[in-house]
Amino acid sequence: MGLRPILSALMRNGAGAILVSMQIALTLAIVVNAVFVTEQRLTKIGRDSGMDDTNIFAVPVTSFEKDHDFFGMVRADLAMLRDMPGVVDAAPTTQIPLSGGGSSTQFYSLPDKKGEKSPVAYYNTDEHGVQTLGVKLADGKNFAAAEIEYRPKDAQGLPGTALVTRAFAEVLFPKDKEHLVGKTFYDDQSKPTVISGVIEQMHGAWVGWDKLDRVMLAPLVGPGPGVRYLIRAKPGQIDSVMSAVEIALRKRDPNRVVGKLRTMLNFKQSSYASDSLMAVTLSVVTGLVLIFSALGIFGLATFNVNTRTRQIGTRRAVGARKLDIVSYFMAENWMVTSLGVLVGCILALLVGFWLSNQFGLPRLDLYFLVGGVIGLWVLGQLAAWQPALRAAKVSPATATRNV
């Protein structure tokens, strides 16, 4: 069977076919780019933070009376929290990782701002920080209790030791990745800090930052008057532990402000909200656009079959088998889909190019385009399948009835 007669039949009712082709072209352009962007956002959201983020929550506490014993308060609070049932560990911190709030500073591998340099997000905590966050120490050792500096007044510079993520340390010391513990790095005043331990993986403050995994823990508490407690609950107990902690903190000392308790997961979802909104919107659009394209193809095929019952009957009467009729309609549909796919490829590339140019999104990965083309071909054939079968059922007698 040649394609020529199908083509000339199509040309006679061109408008419908062109409309469906257009729809397929637009669909391909939208779907390929939407799926590409969605996949990237989902990968971003799904990254391993390195922390036990589902079991951690935070509570800010602020003392406000003059001459308040801030460190006494912190020590008493933490001692109480660590003894509570369901609590794995608790530690003080300045900010909450993944929350979008934090501090960062620049460090160098040599004094006088020389050598390799890298910014790092840092959190001040005590010797319980590692276990509370649930991060894994790959090398070296945790802070000792005596190492923690309780700083009564704001001052520049950090204590002389730090736990840093592997990602950060490897940027500063690219040639000696096996022996990162014991290395010294310097701030912009050339004050030295020694790496006492290497954290395998941990995310810092700003999820949109490309250096999210460059993080440092410093053995520092204070100055007041505010502090945040990070608390890690045993798996599955976070809700009950949270309400118990809130009551216990208020009861232990009513003369300070206990702020709102929030889970780290909640901070994380908040930080990734725009990414997840984008992923959700694009997934919905992708699903709907595919359904409508299938319906459009189905509608056109049905229309073609309906208007051509006599033609089909005549062909059947002069010897065409059912298979011939089915393949005729499938081939017709394939041609319409292919035209759409062809135009759609160009459109998809243009849209992808424009999106990456205009909005700084990464360039469209061509595998997605190939996948989209194959997908739409299959979708087109599936949508035309039922009308084509119906066409095959037209009885040869129809041809004789209406002449």
């Binding site: 419908g16 919107t281 409508f292 205009q358 700084g360």
Partner: protein
């Protein structure tokens, strides 16, 4: 005649209920997705105080690092915040009709009648703040330049804070404790939720407004740091709060009100002169890069409408386009199927124009039905998103508002789109020669 066309349209729908439902659904879903994205886009793209857009300005000077521009991706941009010295330097100008400097701080608020002590976000600002941004007052007023100069221990509370501290009563003249120091309430704001929060976009375009307002100079007396962003570029030995205040670290914002073009020009010149003078003192190592932004320009400079926002809106309208192409195809099939009826009407004397209008009416009815259904679906979508994201995003009431004007925009777009979609099929059916259809009967 229109009523007759409407009746014909309804008859035609009854003949193919499935096809009709499909078309209405296509338009409805297209419109609903557009409406959801349009709601968040319009919330971000709103210009607050539009009548003051040519009067309020943000002066912007480039005190940054000689080796690196403030924003790698947009090297023409000066830093979005200012150093303390520059904020004071600009505030000294007598050209503006009104002027303010400010930063975001915080502290524990106690006292009041029966308030549970609470950490409140606080805006340290100068007296013109309230007049420049037209804040509504429930009780009392802001403070004057004398209170700024003192500074006098005065405070303006938000309505919510006044509710907590004084049960909502008129608290003007009463005192509260902030950082354990007494402040006298001079004013209480009424509900005021500017969205976007245009006067502090660097700390979050849809953040909650602050809970209390305190004269700027208390910040230095009480040695308060910023509760928002602080950025520094220079290596400086900072040993005290005063060192920090006089460093090149930026955390302050200035606004000016300039009511005449002549004043705008004069102020631009003042900015240039100021920077040149600072250069002679060894500061401002970068080339002259001063800007004077309007509210609208400032929103644009800070990308309040995010790129995701724009990309989603474009995707949504592309989806609507697919839905419309789909509808054109279905309408065409439907009209051609019913072509013999049109043939009979033509033979009985209906003109081509009549046939065209009749079918256009039919597609218009489908568009209106689809538009209304879509707009309702869009509102449901906004609610669903707010219910889902509201659990962890604090500012959703403002960044994704319930917005009835967007509802009518959606219906309008739908009607226009439906009529455009109906044009070709209606023209096509009107053009068909009656004889060919009559013969086939």
């Amino acid at each position: 005649m229109f009523a007759y066309y409407l009746r014909l349209a309804l008859q035609s729908f009854r003949r193919n209920p499935g096809l009709t439902a499909l078309m209405v659904m296509a338009i409805a879903l297209g419109i609903s997705v557009c409406m959801v994205t349009l709601t968040s886009y319009r919330a971000a793209a709103r210009i607050p105080l539009p009548h003051k857009n040519d009067m309020l300005f943000v002066p912007n000077v480039d005190s940054w690092d000689p080796d690196n521009s403030y924003d790698k991706d947009k090297p023409g941009n000066a830093p979005d915040l200012q150093t303390y010295r520059d904020a004071r330097g600009l505030f000294a100008s007598t050209i503006p009709d009104r002027k303010l400097i400010m930063f975001k701080a915080g502290g524990v608020l106690s006292g009041g009648n029966n308030m549970v002590p609470e950490y409140v976000s606080s805006r340290m600002t100068t007296g013109d703040f309230f007049a420049m941004f037209e804040t509504p007052f429930l009780y009392g007023n802001g403070w004057d330049a004398k209170a700024d100069a003192g500074p006098e221990p005065v405070v303006v509370l938000s309505k919510e804070t006044n509710q907590k501290a004084f049960g909502g009563a008129n608290s003007v003249g009463k005192t509260v404790l902030w950082h354990d120091r007494e402040f006298r309430v001079v004013g209480v704001l009424n509900d005021w939720e500017p969205a976007p929060k245009f006067f502090d976009v660097s700390n979050g375009s849809f953040d909650d407004p602050e809970q209390i307002y305190v004269p700027f100079s208390w910040g230095q007396i009480m040695e308060l740091g910023s509760d928002g962003n602080t950025n520094c570029w220079k290596t400086e030995d900072i040993k005290s709060y005063l060192d920090f205040l006089n460093s090149e670290c930026i955390w302050f914002e200035s606004w000016v009100e300039l009511r005449t073009p002549a004043k705008v020009e004069a102020y631009r010149k003042f900015l240039d002169d100021y920077v040149v003078e600072q250069k002679s003192k060894g500061r401002f190592p970068r080339p002259l890069n001063n800007h004077l932004y309007t509210i609208e320009g400032w929103m644009e400079r800070n990308q309040v409408v995010g790129t995701d926002n724009k990309a989603m809106l474009i995707m949504a309208f592309a989806f609507l386009a697919v839905c419309l192409v789909n509808t054109v195809g279905l309408l065409l099939a439907k009209f051609l199927n019913a072509a013999p009826v049109a043939g009979v009407r033509r033979a009985l004397g209906a003109s081509r124009r009549d046939i065209f209008l009749q079918h256009l009416t039919e597609s218009g009815v489908i568009a209106v039905a689809g538009g209304l259904a879509g707009a309702l679906l869009g509102i449901a979508g906004v609610w669903a998103l707010r219910a889902w994201y509201g659990r962890f995003v604090q500012d959703l009431e403002r960044s994704l508002p319930t917005d009835y004007s967007t509802f009518w925009i959606a219906v309008g777009i739908s009607l226009a789109a439906g009529i455009i979609a109906g044009l070709y099929p209606a023209w096509r059916i009107g053009r068909a020669a009656p004889a060919s259809y009559l013969k086939a009967q």
